[in-house]
Symmetry: C2
Subunit: 582 residues, 2 copies
């Protein structure tokens, strides 16, 4: 038996017990006559003591030769510590070692195994097994497990059945790119790895499973943007005999439950907002509503006052920045430069200070009277002490730019508190979205999403205006989930494929099995999927997902630890009937 207790377990109540511990050497302090060694495992740290009065000489020498991250086993007596460490759960005691075994030595680790490490990202990834020993990473992985168990138990208690759908499926050119898998037994043919289990979960609904979920890996062979992974995990759900309202209620319940159980946070209001409103009020379909600074459209107030810059624009929109009337010229210039950067691409920023004394002062005083500015203040909800910022231009662009500025300001003003949680449903997404490049409509969610019945007639005349039964769950400005009520009849599904530019032959070749299934009594159904990596990171109070993934890949899709992907030898390629053509 390698241990009687873990390194995080012993307390004053254990004093005088004989114990056995195993773990890693965290720290050594050698005073010559006395050596203290901190021994660490997943559960904590315990101090060992060797001293020349009580420890055999040979063991003193062994202890003196220990290095960081050596693996040792010790037996000894739990004794009271002279100088207690209240920071440490085991800080009341130490172990007077009587037996000592070196289980494994260690080379000097390439970075320090501490909460704050000196290792850079790349080094940490190459030696991820050492990085995982660090508390922040280890705890992130344990936190992920806790969230996963919580989700599973909640959904299971709600009557959902976890069903494993296949990983070796069929390639579909729709949407982002599939990873493919050559089949040795079926020469010249390929499987694809799922981008999501979408069609399978719909088939499970046709199969009467009623409530399905799965925490499942999905795959996307896309150029990796920051914080995207080629393999990622989804909480995938689907329900039969439901309307949008039923789904929102169930997953509002899950979100409340997670926040309560995991974070101890009770959510009061759980608002719903249409996509149109979100765009109008926040310039964004995943607004962070932990703070205000809502958009005010000012066209009626600012046009026709002789200020050409505004007169020419499609949309003029402003926000009130709380307490920022005191910003210096330099601070405001910094904001103007920030929005002019190519990443944002705005032409500039008009400002108006609503001073504490009630007076108003703007960068466009030449065109606008104090009365005009008072109207701006009213419209943006500015109070004395606030700074009003106004942008103008094409509607979509201006909203995007002001949304970025709003988030930037919130971060600067400390309004994005990682321990505050403000969930929100965004509903009534457009069904279709125009793609300038291919000059046709694409499915905004995916081609299985149903149009709102009352908008169906617009499909012929104004497809871009058709709203879908589609919804996103937004948490603190992040889209963490999204879904829709699906089409469940063959005719509508065929029509949708037609709108999306599929020929009937293509639709049949790729989704024939689903359309066939719709002919055998498909029930009304819908569902959603949460991005599990993102959800865990946000619940953990982090912006990036990488430390919540045990073995992530880098931005080139490489695992630098195992050095994958790599070349295959000719023999292996031959068996797969493949040739590489660079």
């Amino acid at each position: 038996m390698y241990r009687s207790h873990t390194c995080g377990e012993l307390r004053a109540t254990h004093i005088n017990e004989e114990v056995t511990l195993s773990g890693w050497v965290q720290k050594i302090r050698n005073k010559g006559f006395m050596i203290w060694v901190d021994i660490r495992d997943r559960y904590g740290v315990t101090q060992l003591i060797f001293d020349e009065e009580r420890t055999p000489k040979e063991m003193m020498e062994q202890a003196a030769q220990l290095g960081r991250e050596f693996v040792i086993q010790v037996k000894g007596k739990v004794i009271e510590r002279e100088s207690k460490n209240p920071q440490l759960p085991t800080g009341d005691i130490e172990i007077l070692v009587s037996e000592f075994t070196l289980l494994n030595a260690s080379l000097t680790p390439p970075f320090t195994i501490e909460n704050e490490t000196d290792g850079g990202e790349e080094l940490r990834m190459k030696y991820r097994y050492l990085d995982i020993r660090r508390n922040p990473v280890k705890e992130s992985l344990m936190f992920r497990h806790k969230v996963g168990m919580n989700v599973r138990n909640y959904l299971s208690q709600e009557g959902f059945i976890e069903v494993e759908t296949p990983y070796l499926i069929k390639s579909t050119p729709e949407g982002a790119r599939d990873f493919v898998v050559p089949s040795r037994m079926n020469e010249g043919q390929f499987y694809a790895l799922p981008q999501s289990p979408q069609t399978f979960k719909q088939l499970l609904m046709v199969g009467g499973m009623d409530k399905y979920f799965q925490i499942v890996k999905c795959f996307r062979d896309e150029d990796l943007r920051a914080d995207r992974q080629p393999e990622f995990t989804q909480i995938d759900c689907e329900m039969a005999f439901v309307e949008q309202e039923d789904i929102l209620n169930i997953f509002e319940g899950l979100t409340r439950h997670l926040l309560r159980d995991i974070k101890g946070v009770e959510i009061g209001d759980f608002p719903r907002m249409t996509y149109a409103d979100a765009m109008k009020k926040y310039g964004n379909d995943k607004p962070d509503i932990r703070f205000g600074m809502e958009f005010a459209e000012l066209n009626d107030l600012v046009k026709g006052k002789g200020f050409n810059v505004f007169d020419e624009q499609e949309l003029i929109v402003g926000i009130a920045v709380p307490g920022a009337a005191s910003y210096t010229r330099k601070q405001i210039d910094a904001l103007i430069n920030w929005v002019k950067r190519p990443q944002i691409g705005a032409n500039g920023l008009i400002w108006a200070k609503y001073n504490e004394d009630g007076s108003l002062k703007s960068s466009v005083d030449k065109f606008y009277s104090e009365e005009d500015l008072t109207a701006w203040a009213k419209e943006t909800g500015a109070n004395p002490g606030d700074l009003i910022l106004v942008m103008g231009g094409n509607t979509d662009t201006t909203r995007t730019q002001l949304s970025a500025l709003r988030m930037h300001l919130a971060t600067e003003l400390g309004l994005r508190n990682a321990n505050e949680f403000a969930p929100l449903w965004v509903v009534d997404f457009p069904l279709l979205e125009w793609d300038e490049e291919t000059k046709r409509f694409h499915a905004m969610h995916h081609p299985f999403t149903s149009p709102k019945p009352e908008d169906k007639k617009l499909l012929e005349t104004d497809p871009g205006a058709v709203r879908a039964n589609a919804y996103d769950l937004v948490l603190n400005g992040n889209e963490i989930g999204g879904g829709s009520i699906r089409i469940h009849d063959k005719a509508t599904q065929a029509k949708m494929f037609d709108y999306l530019g599929f020929t009937p032959e293509e639709a049949k070749a790729q989704f024939g099995f689903l359309m066939n299934a719709f002919e055998y009594g498909a029930p009304p159904h819908g569902g959603l999927a949460f991005g599990f990596d993102r959800l865990v990171a946000i619940l953990g109070g982090q912006e990036t997902i990488r430390d919540f993934i045990a073995f992530p890949k880098n931005n080139a899709g490489r695992d630098v630890m195992i050095d994958a992907p790599s070349k295959l030898d000719e023999e292996q390629l031959k068996e797969l009937h493949l040739q590489v053509k660079l």
Copy 2:
């Protein structure tokens, strides 16, 4: 809202309530003046009633036009049934329908949606979404979910952390064949899908995770034997600072827990048996110990009595078949023919009847006296009324043949009761196994398995005799799990790769990251993996795994429902820098 209740929910206590149900038409009985419709969902079946006195004429006509598997929604009043059906949980009531909506029609399903269907295997697979509507399949999938939740909750409570390991890893030529995945971003390079997360779980132990588990898909591109799938699910576990005994105890606990919670079965004895004993007593490394018929080696008793057939053989071994002394000559001939079939390949079978009256009669009375036969009876443990069957030949072959006969007889005698559970640890497996084809030793478990310290010295002189710290969990004659204590130092691991015929360069290229990790304080560790598909099937009392997998592949590795794998178009191949060469 599509329903107020499910189709399995209503009881006599609901009588007079107005309810809404949705589901599939299971059955229609049309008496003209009265129509009964059974409506089905995941939760059960409820009877609807339409009658000409109480139902509007138009609705009667609609009801009359319903077909099997149509999807309907009805509102109505719960009323007491005239002739109750005690077989059905909802059998006390029926619904007098007042509103009726056809949600979706259905073509006539290609096979009946009943517990016993008229559909053949291939048809059921092609329309798997209809097959899943059948109770046996639906319940198997729900049972799988229940077992999965149980395993997760048990291991989580025992301090195990579920960590997701990557699916896009590195190809290793060792063992069965990898599925590979070309990388678009890394031209000419490939990932591999994991055959198991073996190296990653070991790295998690190096990373201090201490106790890891994962219910995870694994992949093997092998020619499919019966009841194998190219993708399959494992319960994968690993622990640090453990010896074999610790692992056996934990997973004995899991097995007991599952049998108690899932099957209501309390396991008394949980025996351990060495591999050598299992081979000697059952001719098999996964013995079914629900019944006796243990092997008795009879060399000393049968040789030198003038019966040449036995004198020449390496091993003579017998079993006592309970109550089979009454077998007719014809029955015994059938057994002899059974073992002579090419699948078994035995030369024959010697028999001796130990009659109820105590007399003994054999097929070799010419050579063996009643006294000799009495000694056989004693050695095989035969009682009056039993039949002794004896085979001889080369040790390995004879054991295999008699083991097959033992299982055949047990099935014939009804000794393999699916509701009885007899788990067993088989321990001390050989480390290496000689492969006649390649003329070298292979790892019996895998190359990371540690030899027993006391056998290490035999590695140089008699490698085949070295025992490993490896163990299998056997349940009712099926291997459901296996594992080992791993090597955790670089030197031993390098030596093992050497024994297995890897050059140092090959070992480094394929497993360099693991050997490097061993240099940074790798703890002693070990683990095991359960075959989840098999475990669920056995707990479910079934021999085959296919109905416990939602969307299985056929023996050619094809999903006949979605028609995968399939060809890629040229464009897609070009992007992957690949060419198919048939």
